[in-house]
């Protein structure tokens, strides 16, 4: 099956802990993204990455960092979570030009207590 896969589906943790989320795409795409969808359903870009360049949205706190081993994987690490990090984190990928469709994974829902 070709798609965008994310693990875990859900994660509950305490303030100050470190968490990591995984994303893998089997679509053969060359660009991947992390988006944050908050409780008001606002969708905001966090990172975009291809095998040449990482672009970080300027509003993303430094405790967030992407990690990639190859063009099929883009993980997300949060060093010390805070309550406002509670959200759904969506991974997406795209192939070809910037006018191409982005395919989204099912998301990881993070709850910070």
């Amino acid at each position: 099956e070709t798609a965008v896969f994310q693990t875990p589906n859900y994660h509950v943790t305490q303030v100050g802990n470190e968490v990591s989320f995984n994303c893998k795409q089997t679509l053969g795409h060359d660009t991947m993204y992390w988006y944050k969808q908050d409780s008001k359903k606002l969708l905001k870009i966090m990172f975009s990455y291809n095998n040449k360049q990482l672009i970080v949205n300027e509003t993303v706190p430094r405790r967030f960092s992407p990690q990639s081993s190859d063009k099929a994987h883009l993980n997300l690490r949060i060093k010390s979570v805070e309550p406002e990090d509670s959200a759904v984190y969506l991974c997406a990928s795209r192939h070809g030009g910037v006018n191409a469709e982005q395919f989204f994974g099912p998301g990881t829902r993070l709850t910070v207590l």
């Binding site: 660009t31 993204y33 988006y35 008001k40 359903k41 606002l42 969708l43 905001k44 870009i45 975009s48 990455y49 291809n50 360049q53 672009i55 949205n57 969506l90 795209r94 030009g97 910037v98 006018n99 191409a100 469709e101 982005q102 395919f103 989204f104 994974g105 099912p106 998301g107």
Partner: protein, 114 residues
């Protein structure tokens, strides 16, 4: 910077009535790429339709939209709403100089009643 503004909040319609969800955008680039994504309950967003050509109607799954550069608009329309159209709709602009990252509007929840 680039931005997208959509019809606020919740739109509730009776089945069979026409749908129109507003989207306007701001960008310094003369050739914008606009998208509509739809997110059904407990699912992830998926592409509904897209356009890059001024004044050309694009259609998919009964929905249509026309990019109008003169008014910076890309409104989503459907002639007759169905119960299955109930979902969250996002208008988005591609940031072509930053790896095509999507700049989303705030989303419009469409609720169709029998």
């Amino acid at each position: 910077g680039d931005s997208v503004t959509q019809t606020e909040g919740l739109v509730t319609l009776t089945e069979g009535l026409p749908v129109m969800l507003n989207c306007t955008y701001q960008t310094i680039y003369s050739n914008p790429f606009l998208f509509w994504y739809v997110q059904h309950l407990n699912e992830s967003p998926r592409l509904l339709l897209k356009s890059f050509t001024d004044n050309k109607r694009t259609e998919h799954q009964g929905f249509h939209a026309t990019l109008h550069k003169s008014s910076s608009s890309f409104h989503l329309q459907k002639s007759s709403a169905q119960l299955s159209d109930s979902a969250l709709y996002y208008c988005a602009l591609s940031d072509r100089y930053n790896q095509g990252k999507l700049i989303f509007g705030q989303g419009t929840k469409l609720s169709i009643k029998p």
